[in-house]
Symmetry: C2
Subunit: 333 residues, 2 copies
């Protein structure tokens, strides 16, 4: 009866003809996703066991799992795919798919659906919010007050205006464009760098990031991480950006040489940074915690209540489409 | 020789034919304003003595002071005016003029110039920044991280989207309109309350603040403080705004019944608040310091480096205009 352990009680009474869906993500993820789908799918939840142990001990259940719902950072490796022989669909609730072995999925004929552009607006909002916070020193001033620095003293940092700031965006995909539109509405002056110049975009294009940095006061990272973009923000770029310069990263931590960033922040070689992502996640370099010219965010680009609802609906629409033999809403492969 | 004490050394060598200008403000104020004007004016600085003592002991100098430059919160009372018998102009570097005895100035034929709309954009920027910070929980998340809450844990507050939020503005003067324009560009839906409906404004108008609150998710205070508006945000308004509601105050602390605000924040009757002003300034009620749904700002609506430069230029232009018999740039009386 090992196969019956660690399963939610509701699924044992469930209609066994419904497609079997395994959920692979953090606790909150399961509790959000499970209820809306439990009518149309036979939901399996391994939350009380690590996945590999669950797969090894619940072989009967796993042999008939047709779909896997996963979150970013929850690996779907070749091994996982091998232990789910009936799997036909992986739906990840994340924008990135680097945790899913796409080659092995393709080889096995397993389709993969992602979050599409579901989080683009939230990530763009966060980029703008972090920039405003760094430039206007909102968090730093709030922290000062909570440390009992008296009102009217000279202990508070002097803010700067957002309007008129020259902002260079690295990576002008969906998120980069959303950031550009928001900042243009707030009277910033936009230019960008990307692999190639965009045909239908009138913002000035710089083919090198150093050139982008030396012509702007702010750099916002919205590009993918790959071997070409790893440490794309190095010391040379930071020095080109200059002492008042601000860097905002809502993409991937390893786009920035974080050691150099810390050195430049401490030495005043750049003005400040707003960071939603870090080089060694889930660890955050503790040296950031002592700096007042940094605003830190917990890789939360998509953590609005509206997006939780949205992704939940999107996952449901992908599942329904797949099991009704319709086209996936947001296919990856 | 008492009259020569406590005066800056440069003024003793100064051309005594230049108009004599006394500076009345905090240390930083004098050091910013003094250098640019020292060529065209004979600057007096009482920074090492309280003003009344300076006026009493430097009667010779004070008898020929033609202009007074003051900051907000530095009173220019009837007594001060009496002790400066040659005074013809007061220039205050503040948006408000409540620290200047305007009746007595008028009676003595002393002109008064203010900051005009110099700070309107900064105050509007701050209102937007505080709203974004409260809604997206930027400061709260930053504080969480600095307390070593691990990335990926459920310890972080869930943010909300700014776009689509219904925002009610109380007071649609220059600042209120600037706030409305910025938030419209960020896809918020604007309505307002003011003493009377504005003829050329198409935003929906509510004649009562309770009605405004019950039709919006956010209230932003941009109105003047007077007997009609004192505690305009009371418990009834907060309950009408509701549990997810956010209040932003960049105007005056006493517009809000602060005790009730604290109670509503603690009891979850409203969602959050962004406050640049407080009821008992310079004191800030310490109960705010323990709340995560509040963003606090040190009455800093105009504290950008760009505005310091701007006000400095505006003060200079008012002085030059007055002493060349031209119209004041930003006259109050």
């Amino acid at each position: 009866m090992a196969d019956q352990n660690n399963l939610n009680s509701n699924e044992q009474q469930h209609d066994l003809n419904l497609p079997k869906v395994l959920i692979h993500g953090p606790q909150g993820f399961s509790s959000v996703l499970q209820p809306p789908f439990s009518q149309n799918f036979h939901i399996l939840n391994h939350s009380s066991l690590p996945l590999h142990q669950f797969l090894a001990t619940h072989t009967h259940h796993c042999s008939s799992v047709a779909a896997l719902l996963c979150d970013g950072g929850y690996p779907v490796t070749a091994d996982v795919l091998r232990l789910l022989p009936s799997l036909r669909l992986v739906v990840t609730a994340s924008a990135g798919t680097e945790h899913v072995d796409l080659d092995e999925s393709r080889r096995r004929g397993v389709r993969v659906a992602g979050a599409g552009n579901m989080f683009s607006e939230d990530v763009a909002d966060l980029a703008v919010a972090l920039l405003i916070d760094v430039v206007m020193k909102i968090s730093a001033a709030d922290r000062c007050l909570r440390k009992r620095v008296p009102l009217g003293s000279t202990g508070f940092p002097l803010a700067s205006k957002l309007a008129g700031k020259k902002v260079g965006i690295v990576g002008l995909g969906k998120i980069g464009l959303e950031v550009a539109q928001r900042l243009e509405a707030l009277d910033c002056i936009i230019s960008y760098n990307s692999r190639t110049q965009k045909p239908l975009v009138w913002y000035p294009f710089y083919s090198s990031v150093v050139e982008l940095a030396s012509n702007n006061q702010v750099i916002i990272l919205c590009c993918a991480l790959n071997e070409q973009t790893r440490h794309v923000i190095n010391r040379e770029v930071m020095l080109a950006l200059g002492k008042g310069g601000v860097i905002v990263n809502v993409a991937r931590g390893a786009l920035i040489d974080e050691k150099e960033l810390l050195r430049c922040l401490v030495e005043g070689e750049i003005g400040g940074a707003g960071l939603d992502v870090f080089q060694n996640e889930p660890l955050v370099c503790q040296q950031f915690f002592g700096l007042d010219n940094v605003v830190l965010s917990p890789h939360a680009g998509f953590s609005t209540s509206e997006s939780y609802l949205g992704i939940c609906q999107l996952v449901g629409r992908n599942l329904e489409a797949f099991f009704s033999n319709n086209t996936l809403i947001t296919p990856v492969i």
